[in-house]
Amino acid sequence: MSSKPRIIVVGGGLAGLMTVIKVAERGCPVDLFSIVPVKRSHSVCAQGGINAAVNIMGENDSPEIHYYDTVKGGDFLAHQPLCRGMAYDAPSIIYLLDRMGVPFSRTSEGNLDFRRFGGTLHHRTAFAGASTGQQLLYALDEQVRRFEAQGLVTKHEGFEFLSPVLESPEGPCRGIVAMDLRTMKVQAFRADAVVMATGGPGLVYGRSTNSMINTGSAAAGCYRAGVRYANGEFIQIHPTAIPGEDKMRLMSESARGEGGRVWVPKKKGDTRPPAEIPESERWYFLEEKYPRFGNLVPRDIGAREIYHVCVDLGMGLDGEQKVYLDLTHKSREFLDRRLGAILEIYEQFVGDDPRTVPMKIFPAVHYSMGGLWVDYEPTADGMIDKSSPKNHMTNIPGLYAAGECEYQYHGANRLGANALLSCIYAGTLAGPSSVIFAENLDCLAADLDAGLYERSASKWEKRFEEIARMDGPENPHKLHRELGETMIANVTIVRENDKLRQTDQKIQELMERWKKIGVTDRSQWSNPEIPFVHQLWNMLELARVITLGALQRDESRGAHYKPEFPERDDANWLKSTIATWSPEGPVLTYEPVDISISEPVARHYD
């Protein structure tokens, strides 16, 4: 029997890289799979910062308050011990990142600087200019490169994950099947534990703030193999983005954290340029309705208020779902120093200088609170037992998930600047847990019969041979666009049961039309269309999970809002949605939420 277990990590964003570092630090070899060179992962897009109650600003902030803000922000749908564990570990995570060389912005005394973000009254968000995600990802990428140079980490970049290799339908997981996106060869790889860290499914909505790689296809591959998918209906709409024909570009919440004000003209259809509209004729609707939190209400509330003002009251700019985000009262020097990177993006793509002209912004699909179901081991005092192999394990033994692809931490709505933290914290749990699991196996994957791997790979080889031969009339990119338009129209800020039913019909229609796709590129070398056809099917599968989860949930909670059921209904709906794959579509069941630490209360920010 070979002595050391091998771990496979799929995905090289913050969660994946932190997992790799934790595994490699224990001397365990890691195979790291990623669609793109890991330095180009979607974590680079995070802008505003990362939360930790370090309390450098002398506001009596504490991890306990951070924990409570998080579960309240999530409308009490998050399992509480993990949130608490995360909040308590956050300061040491920031210190670690600082030691790794992240160029965090500093105070005049040389301490870490912190700014405000939504859903809290404390300055709790550490940041590196306005491209914090990029800086954090690079720091972790550098540490992984160090292990790579030592020979402990082997990178497989340019691979599409297709499926876990399971010894039996119940597991354990013994490896993965993946496709080399250049040679188009499908291959099975052995591992003693697998950690999925493959990010969110933004592309299910066509245009979102997500990167083009965020199809959710890898998570869907696990779901199709029997992993439970939880709280799929909870999709975060970010209140402030810049629309483009190719994607929605994020305008960070930090713009409001640094003093940005949201407003519309008080007079409907006012066509004057914003500078000519006097203060008294501007409606700062968030500040008026939420005097305590103002422009920094949580994102679900912010997006809903913008929708209300623009759609219900018809007061959006140019008659659209568009409002001003105004930073023009701040000095140019201040803005360049603290928000430079995001203001450059706006300037580049819109052409106006946000330092002198208020930005015009839209809500956009941004983040999935839901994802693969994963477990955890709480301690008696409401923290996490870090020696347990259960932490971040899916319902399939040996198959783990960390980061946006799983459903923990954010409940029904994620607070800004908690994503980077949850990804890194998840990696600090999933890495050691997967190693502990692998070390306790009776037989390592290296010693297993090759037949299991040959069978797993050949099933997918056949699937791709079929896709490559498809010659029907439908174009996969056009089908994708239709899916996105339907999902954006019906499964975003406001959800109505009629429209959700129609949406599910539409998705099933698209699934039928998927079978009539004609592949326009038949090359067997670096052909992105063939994997895209595969990803599109997986997006359709997830779209049904999201839509049917929303249809079933007859209440309003966090990002899920139904005018027909406008109140949160704890008696009937304080429970996680669990979708299990079946050939006929998702089977939905429910399980209780761990509220062992804090009793849910009504959520107020006014």
């Binding site: 060179p37 500093r106 550098e142």
Partner: protein
Amino acid sequence: MRSEIVFRIRRQDGPQEPSYVQEFRLNYRPNLNIIACLQEIARHPVDASGKATSPPVWDCSCLEEVCGACTMLVNGVPRQSCSTLIDSLPSGPIELAPLTKFPVVRDLMVDRKPMFEALKQIHGWIPIDGTHDLGPGPRRPSDQARISYVFSRCMTCGCCMEACPNYDGKDPSQFIGPAPLGQTHYFNTNPIGAMNAGERLDAVMGRNGLTGCGNAQNCVEVCPKEIPLTDAIAQLNRQANRHWLTTLFGR
């Protein structure tokens, strides 16, 4: 004002295949970037002569000029195709071609692996003692962190490597290129990284290192993040001289 957008795209079916140019025509709309046009071609892959074809292959991910993936030559200039707006280009046909200093994978997609390998050569990391809790990191002056941040925005996009007359993609033993040198400077100016600056200086004082820079300044011209690469190289040169003398005469 244009009524249509004409693309002349340099295509290549594989690394060993000959390249050719294919023309595509799109209806003009305002505020398009190059990616949105390529996406439209993928939805309707028909060339200018009306012949059905395969969609051109290109590399992209974030579309916000922060991941570095979508670099290509636009009218001969290396830049990010996501942040290149059609309205900012002259009204004639737009020429798209893959970078020339990296091996072509297919069409506009190239392999920038040499850049990531170079980051290994320069020991591009802070050698921390471990990820266990060791308390806060060193305090840093705000200005120093701000300068550091400028270098940390390098997204390994390859624009500077493409523009550098001394970087020869075919033979990396000639000159390592501007981006990895900028990163060497970045790590050497970090308070913890400075403790083993000598190691990194050794790595860039060899045959393909600092002496390969001819100071053409092309790199700073094309860097989408305006990273002062030549300043970094100048400072590295000074440190390298000092380092050479201290190693020669001992401390």
